[in-house]
């Protein structure tokens, strides 16, 4: 659906966006994540033809997007939702019918259909000024889909919504885009939102695409320290591969040796990454299939998302995530001795 090659775009602020290649397939939900100021919205604006960028190649739906004289026609094949829903000072019906009016089309039932799909039929004749934030988002979504666009661009569309409303809207959005095979490009800082919707994930930082791939790959196999940092890998240990056979590497980290499944070779200097949720903890040394066992001391216990985050001193600092219930059942507190373990497949090596 989208092909972009050799983009070198500079804003008047001096911020530069450099993308060698970006390809988004038809019907794909492509999420772009990254910290503030990474260039996510700038990239989305370029895809929406709102920025005057000059990449070497730029195609949307098989049509060149380089010739700006056809911008309006190309934009009519897509919809773009900003983080804030910009509604006109009119009724909900007229807001949703607006894209049809711009195209000189008559409403032949599309507006009513969207009102039903997004469950806001009861708002049809209400003024946009009288809507709650959640309702405004639903009207904005209905308006974006009323022309059945082949491409939908979403710029942090749910950032201002509470969790319950957000979940319901994401569920509706997923259902509609899957049914219509709509290509979606979603920009977000919320990794859970990206995971809930995305088929493909791209991590962007300081105007560069750091990694693109399936969400589970990016979260478990980050390609660089920057990506690992952003996707929540908490344990990153510098070490050296001392032996490698059958993709099983022994990595020396200080005085400890850890086992990791990886294609690295002996002598490689690496960064060993372990996600907090991959680390299991117990009060006693248990025999299990995990290849990495360490005895350590809890140095801190902190709330983390909906769980708790333990820092464990095992000669190196290992971070583990446990549920509130496990924390209570095991009575874990700072200063306690504990056993921590993780699988060789749960760790990941990044060559340095």
């Amino acid at each position: 659906m989208i092909k972009l090659k050799d983009l070198d775009f500079r804003l008047s602020t001096g911020f530069a966006l450099n993308i060698d290649s970006l390809s988004i397939g038809v019907g794909e939900v492509f999420a772009i994540i990254g910290p503030n100021g990474a260039g996510k919205t700038t990239l989305l604006n370029i895809l929406a033809l709102l920025q005057d960028a000059k990449p070497a190649n730029f195609e949307i739906g098989g049509r060149s997007a380089l010739d700006r004289s056809g911008s309006t026609a190309l934009r009519r094949s897509m919809s773009y939702l900003f983080s804030r829903p910009y509604l006109i000072n009119d009724t909900v019906y007229n807001n949703i019918a607006l894209p049809l009016m711009f195209r000189g089309e008559k409403d032949s039932g599309q507006v009513a259909e969207m009102l039903e799909v997004f469950k806001i039929a009861y708002l049809r004749d209400r003024s946009a000024n009288q809507l709650s934030q959640g309702e405004r988002h639903r009207v904005s979504l209905s308006r974006a889909f009323v022309t059945r666009p082949r491409l939908v661009l979403l710029d942090e569309p749910f950032s201002s919504l509470d969790a319950r409303v957000k979940e319901a809207i994401i569920s509706d959005l997923r259902r509609i885009t899957r049914a219509a095979r709509t290509t979606v490009v979603l920009v977000t800082q919320d990794q859970e939102e990206a995971l809930a919707l995305a088929d493909v994930l791209a991590v962007i930082k300081e105007g560069r695409l750091l990694q693109t791939g399936r969400p589970e790959t990016i979260f478990s196999r980050p390609a660089s320290k920057e990506v690992a940092d952003f996707v929540g890998v908490e344990t990153m240990l510098g070490g050296e591969v001392t032996a490698a056979s059958d993709n099983l590497c022994s990595v020396r980290v200080g005085d400890n040796t850890l086992a990791v499944v990886s294609a690295c070779e002996a002598g490689d200097s690496v960064l060993l990454c372990v996600r907090p949720e991959a680390v299991a903890v117990s009060r006693s040394a248990e025999a299990n299939s995990m290849r990495n066992h360490f005895k350590g001391t809890i140095t801190s216990v902190e709330p983390w998302r909906l769980e708790y985050r333990l820092s464990i001193d095992c000669g190196f600092n290992l971070i583990a995530a446990v549920t509130k219930r496990s924390l209570d059942d095991m009575g874990l507190k700072p200063g306690d001795g504990i056993f921590a373990s993780f699988k060789a497949t749960a760790a990941h090596l990044i060559k340095r």
């Binding site: 929406a48 309006t72 773009y80 900003f82 910009y86």
Partner: protein, 233 residues
Amino acid sequence: MDFILDGLLKGLSLIFGGDAEVYAIVRLSLFVSVFSTALSVAIGVPLGSIVAIKEFPFKKIVISVVNTGMGLPPVVVGLMAMLFLSRNGPLGLLGWLYTPTGMVLAQVIIATPVIAGLSLSAMQSLDRKFYLQMLTLGAGQWQALWVCLKEIKLSILAAVIAGFGSVISEVGAVMIVGGNIRHQTRVLTTAIVMETHMGNFDNAIALGLILLSLTFLINIALTYIQQQKARTE
């Protein structure tokens, strides 16, 4: 003090007495002011809105020029218009000097920056993303601009009121360009100046009353429309 009272009484008699010359002056005043305001709106609103919405080099300088134009001294505008329209001037061939058309031209030069500047400011108060959102919904540039204008229509009406106010009460430019010729280019403001200079204070007061009443009535009408819209939003 009697001359003020006399002036008021004469004014009322002129207003209600059916004086043909006074009516002709009122008609011309209204024609010149309404027509020049309409032209200024047609030029100033799109100009101000486009400058506000579009990104282009030297935008800040263009905005400064528009803002400077809002304070153009009418006498200087009149002088420049007269020089341009005079027989030897670059626009002398048009033959507009000492005609209502020339007066309209001078007033358009005065009112356009006022309307453009206020439209620009009103459009800048609207989040630029609103315009971009309209484009991404499939609007052409003019469609998007029109929807944005509808969003700020109260401020645009305020710009129209200000523009009309600047031309109906203006005297310097129309005096120079129009020449205050009886039955041809005499309008209320120039007539008031002339009567005052001649010591005919009663006539000057009478014409002043008419001018005030006209301005008041037209502003009431525009304000009513504006407030009706405000109430429905």
